[in-house]
Amino acid sequence: MIQEFKQVWKPYAVALLWLLGLLWPLLGIHKDGTLSFNETFTVWIYIAAGSAFCLFLYLLNQSGTLKAVSSPLAGVRQTAGKATAKVPVWIWLGLLLVFALCYPIFTGRYAQDVATNVLIYICLGLGLNIVIGLAGMLDLGYIAFYGVGAYTYALLNLNYGIGFWTSLPAAATLACIAGCIIGYPTLRMRGDYLAIVTLGFGEIVRILLNNWMELTNGPNGLLGVKAPRILIPAMENGLSFEFFYLKKLHFLYYIALALAIVTIISVRHLNFSRIGRAWESIREDETAAELMGVNTFMLKLLAYAMGALFAGLAGAFFCARMRFVSPESFTFLESAMVLSMVVLGGMGSIPGVILGAAALIVLPEVFREFETYRMLVFGMSMVIMMVFRPAGLIPAKRMGKRGEEGDG
């Protein structure tokens, strides 16, 4: 252990000094232009002490000194793992569903709001996962379809009084069409070029929403969109039906949950279908896929359309929840956020994307405690996660269900 410490202490010390140098201007400059050292030094001491402790534990573990403590722990973990493996997956899924259904009962407004956000982003992440994770096309303008969905509902509702439920398929269809419009000319492009074109498309949609005053009311956005409504029987004068608007947060949470569940089930079906496999073959080697009889043109277009569809659904819901929509919600940053969820969670993996969405929405909320350093801590935790799990939090599993099927 002493030997190992000798090897690392020098670069470690240099790194700490370097960090101090970086932190000082970052944290030391005040609003009035003065520079102080105290605050920076406190933060630095915390980081240094924390990392030194981690390093110490790491070295201790490497040298085997920790074995005495960790081996019984490992035994416990193994038995626990075995016990959980015995319970069939559907029971876990059932428990998860019950938890999701009961969630609003024991949580407040704030937690419900965050959870609704997570559910929206799950839909978005899973949709983008079709395009990136399965078909292997980098799409940097994905949020445009979200915008198309949101504006579809807003405009239908404001101009024609059409309700949320009827608008939902319309939003999905329009997003699909937008997906085909962007998909069609870009299908011959690969890799970086495709990324640039989709980035441009995302911006075009945002700028269009921003500048088309007559239709979208420009940067002011559209106000007064109605919340989703349902018909309930009313007893006041005989039996009649009246509209009940689902404005309350927990109603919206349940709608988001339903949308997310529909998305998860459909994406899972797509994933394990012939189409899903064809998408994966395109991701792996497009020419070879074509030689195998995969109609790469149609399937890539389909990938775009399907990805856009889920974004459209999520967008319509987003608009119904906010009861307001403006182009600000559909910036490149949002696209990057959804992309990060997919990459962080694990490309092509459904549980991974779900976890990624949850992590990227919940973490910034948790880090609110850190106030000013919130985004710094957030960025750092993302870097750390990608260093330790480069394939994502839950990497996509091969040799899964599909491998078993065809096996005699």
Partner: protein, 239 residues
């Protein structure tokens, strides 16, 4: 003589400004193995890519079973019975061996038939059965080549186009692959059009051979005669 199953008539193709094929004519008859040999850049692979519709044909005609396949998109060819073992194998590295094979039968929907062909592919290449759950990219070069051939067989091809099956393989493995190619031809009756740099092996396996040089067919003959042709021996067999 019988009708050729595959016929190229004065085919010309380019990559941008560079003319890769300046008029290639060749005929392949049902049940035979035909080898196309030639140096680097002679247009061997381009010929196969042109047949598959990946490289556009500017002039000339390609006829398969008596009908022109010039306008046919690449993904329809496996349905018609033409399948390719592409250069450099091009298996799907992150899909399992089994998934790779099932993609070979992508256009087909008869599950029973696919299962049967899967067993047949495994009987040709038992090592693939052992590794069926492994990702394609984790196989060795020889195994990947076997997988590429097995994948092409999964579409029940009448004509199999093979591009450099010996590329990057150890000599012993190359011999084995060529033995299997000959067995497939004899036992399944699959017509094989083979593109090879390893002229010696290709001509030993084939019945007839074409020598391609800078985009034109320089010579065509029975493979055995090409093998003994002093000019060929000097240019391609390293003597």
């Amino acid at each position: 003589m019988a009708e050729p199953i595959l016929e190229l008539k004065d085919v010309q193709s380019s990559y941008g400004n560079i003319k890769a094929l300046k008029g290639v004519s060749l005929r392949v008859f049902p049940g035979e193995i035909v080898a196309i040999i030639g140096a680097n850049g002679a247009g061997k692979s381009t010929t196969l890519m042109a047949i598959c519709g990946i490289v556009p044909v500017e002039k000339g005609d390609i006829r398969y079973r008596g009908e022109s396949i010039l306008g046919v998109t690449p993904e329809k060819l496996p349905v018609m019975g033409l399948s390719q073992v592409p250069e450099g194998r091009r298996i799907f590295p992150r899909l399992t061996v089994l998934e790779n094979l099932e993609l070979g039968a992508f256009y087909r929907k008869d599950r029973a038939g696919i299962q049967e062909d899967l067993e047949r592919a495994f009987s040709w290449f038992p090592v693939l059965k052992e590794r069926r759950r492994q990702e394609g990219g984790t196989l060795s070069g020889g195994e990947q080549q076997m997988l590429a051939i097995a994948r092409a067989l999964m579409s029940r091809p009448k004509v199999m186009l093979m591009d450099e099956p010996s590329l990057g393989l150890a000599p012993l493995l190359v011999q084995k692959i060529f033995d299997i190619i000959r067995d497939i031809n004899q036992q399944e009756g699959t017509t094989i059009l083979l593109v090879e740099q390893n002229a010696n092996l290709a001509l030993q396996a084939a019945e007839r051979g074409y020598v391609l040089e800078t985009g034109i067919v320089k010579m065509e003959d029975r493979a055995a005669d090409l093998l003994t042709n002093p000019e060929i021996r000097k240019a391609y067999l390293g003597e």
